[in-house]
Symmetry: C2
Amino acid sequence: MKNYSRQREAILNVLRSTDTHPTASRIYEMVQQSLPNISLGTVYRNLSALSKSGEILSLDVGDGFEHFDGDISSHAHLHCRSCGCITDMPLKGELIFSAVQEYGFSPDTLSCVVYGICKDCNQN
Amino acid sequence: MKNYSRQREAILNVLRSTDTHPTASRIYEMVQQSLPNISLGTVYRNLSALSKSGEILSLDVGDGFEHFDGDISSHAHLHCRSCGCITDMPLKGELIFSAVQEYGFSPDTLSCVVYGICKDCNQN
DNA sequence: GTATCTGCAAATCATTTGCATTCTG
DNA sequence: CAGAATGCAAATGATTTGCAGATAC
């Protein structure tokens, strides 16, 4: 909470004030509003560090981009094949975690992505 | 089942006779044993077509490689952070699917990846 | 002053694609 | 022969990295 550079702080703020699961370059654009001189490389480096330390989540939905999530609570992601949006849904991981342990596997994170068509796209 | 090229057939065979969730280049190596002149581009093209038509599954565990799975039945994947292996675990998707529908979301596929340490790595 | 982080630009590398050729029917 | 698929090699593009200068303590 203290040793953070201005840049890392700004990236965290952006991620914690949205639920849109932005990509690195989207985050870059957003952070540029407060830090116009930040570089894309710095964004990548900090996202990687934050993800490794568990402060944010990295999410791969198979669209060729890595997405990031400031919400580390247990939830599933609904990825719309039509508009590409990613929305959250609460999900109790305990059930899956306990099943996993019967395989001798020690779980630490769960990433659950449901593919389909979102509410908005269904109505059009 | 009939209009398949020799190459596509070989790729399908490789995928259906393993549970190791290989990457494109690993599949390339394996298929070369029966078709030494196959090219990597062809492997990618066929994997993409087979995945689009639903005959195989594409799996992203966030290690920078796309993995492929010849088993399209409902199951979760356990990805070991230590050795990188990916093992299967049966998973009933119905529960998650019905929860998803309450969000107005029409699901078609579920991809559940559990990250952690596998049995073998735990013992070393 | 040392260790860490940054901006910049070049490098990396999995994946995609253009094109001439080969296969299939 | 036409249409589809292939092999090859070059292109693409998200992500990573080297390095010299800035920043923090």
